[in-house]
């Protein structure tokens, strides 16, 4: 099994090249998942890029929301019909960035006609319920607490694969397991989500396009329990 999608090994100079958005992965194989990663921190870009490549994704990593919009062709008002539809299967962005936050980037992507159906995942080092709610309400697919781990990325990968399969179109849109909520994981297992969550959180791309905005009463956030991973952490080191 290829560990990093068969892409050539990176040397440090290449790492930095990827880190500042100058170097991209080799040409896209249309079957491979292409992820746009956005983070102003070089260290975090390198790590997320490696995490994604090791799960067989092609990655383009950029250092700001503006660069992301530029990459997507959303940075001006001209319609971009003249260039080939860019294949981006997932956008993963840091929340706290100078200039344009991940939330603002999320909004711009969801407002666009070309990319509104692309799942957007937000990463943040801060476990703030109101922040998480805002992002999910704006249409974010998921919210990852930093530091991001391999298990988080693998989980993203599995629901992406399900989305791409056309045969899933007619299957019932029920989350197959609650582990996809693990970025919102509690120490004790969560109760089954109410039906409104199913329509928002199910992983089908068609649903994301057609679903109405989620209800505002934060039914997604586990208000009674801290949002944590399934591991113990020292308090105050968040």
């Amino acid at each position: 099994m290829p560990l990093d999608g068969g892409v050539s090994c990176l040397r440090r100079s290449e790492m930095i090249g990827i880190g500042i958005g100058e170097l991209e992965s080799p040409p896209l194989d249309s079957d491979q998942v292409h992820v746009l990663a956005v983070d102003d921190s070089l260290v975090d870009r390198i790590v997320i890029e490696r995490l994604l490549r090791i799960t067989s994704c092609k990655v383009t990593a950029v250092d700001s929301g503006w660069r992301a919009l530029e990459f997507l062709g959303l940075d001006d008002d001209k319609s971009s019909v003249e260039f080939d539809r860019l294949k981006v299967d997932l956008i993963i962005t840091d929340y706290c960035m100078p200039g344009m936050t991940g939330y603002e980037l999320l909004k711009k992507i969801k407002e666009s006609t070309s990319f509104r159906e692309v799942p957007v995942v937000i990463m943040s080092s801060e476990n703030v319920l109101t922040r998480i709610d805002r992002c999910l309400e704006e249409g974010a697919e998921d919210f990852l607490l930093k530091p991001v781990k391999l298990a988080d990325v693998k989980r993203l990968r599995t629901y992406l694969t399900r989305d791409v399969k056309v045969s899933d179109r007619n299957k019932p849109k029920v989350p197959e397991d609650l582990s996809r909520f693990s970025s919102l994981a509690m120490v004790t297992p969560p109760p089954p989500p109410p039906p409104s969550i199913t329509s928002v959180k199910s992983s089908s791309l068609e649903e994301i396009v057609s679903s109405s905005p989620p209800p505002s009463e934060s039914s997604i956030s586990p208000v009674d329990s801290p949002i944590r991973r399934m591991e113990m952490r020292s308090p105050g080191l968040d």
Binding site: L42, R50, I54
Partner: protein
């Protein structure tokens, strides 16, 4: 009688465990090691090296901001601290991250002496970690040069 390789491997194991037990590293460092393979055998070394460069740059920014006597921009210091906290968290530099938490509190309360103290501590701490990780990577190299494999260490 222990071979050289076995001795080096034991040293490596003991040293790694001590770094975790003394709180220099946390499980995020373990996560980084998972991302290393034959294709990217120096991934961890390269990421931490970028992290230490980041430390130097950010600490420089903080020092300059704190040096503006009577006109310190604490939000500027705080933003550098936030960045350092983020990258230290991403590489598993537990002590550095912990210091950043305290440092951020000093910035938020505009505590100048506290900030200066924290800056000094963060500087010492990242350099200390840098030296220890260099020792660890040197041990890895010695093991490989002696024909051995780097052991998997379960913390």
């Amino acid at each position: 009688m222990d071979t050289l390789v076995a001795q080096l491997q034991r040293q490596f194991r003991d040293y790694t465990i001590s770094l975790y037990h003394q709180g220099f590293l946390d499980d995020q460092f373990t996560e980084l090691k998972k991302l290393q393979d034959e294709c990217s055998p120096d991934f961890v070394a390269e990421v931490v090296s970028l992290f230490f460069e980041d430390c130097e740059k950010l600490i420089g920014n903080m020092a300059r901001a704190l040096d503006q006597t009577g006109n310190v921009d604490f939000s500027l210091v705080g933003s550098s601290v936030h960045q350092l906290k983020g990258s230290s968290s991403s590489v598993g530099a537990k002590r550095v991250k912990g210091l950043c938490v305290t440092f951020k509190e000093c910035c938020d309360s505009q505590n100048f002496e506290g900030c200066v103290r924290c800056l000094q501590q963060v500087d010492i701490e990242y350099k200390s970690l840098k030296a220890k990780l260099q020792d660890l990577f040197n041990l890895e190299q010695q093991i490989v040069q002696a024909g051995g494999r780097i052991p998997q260490v379960d913390i």
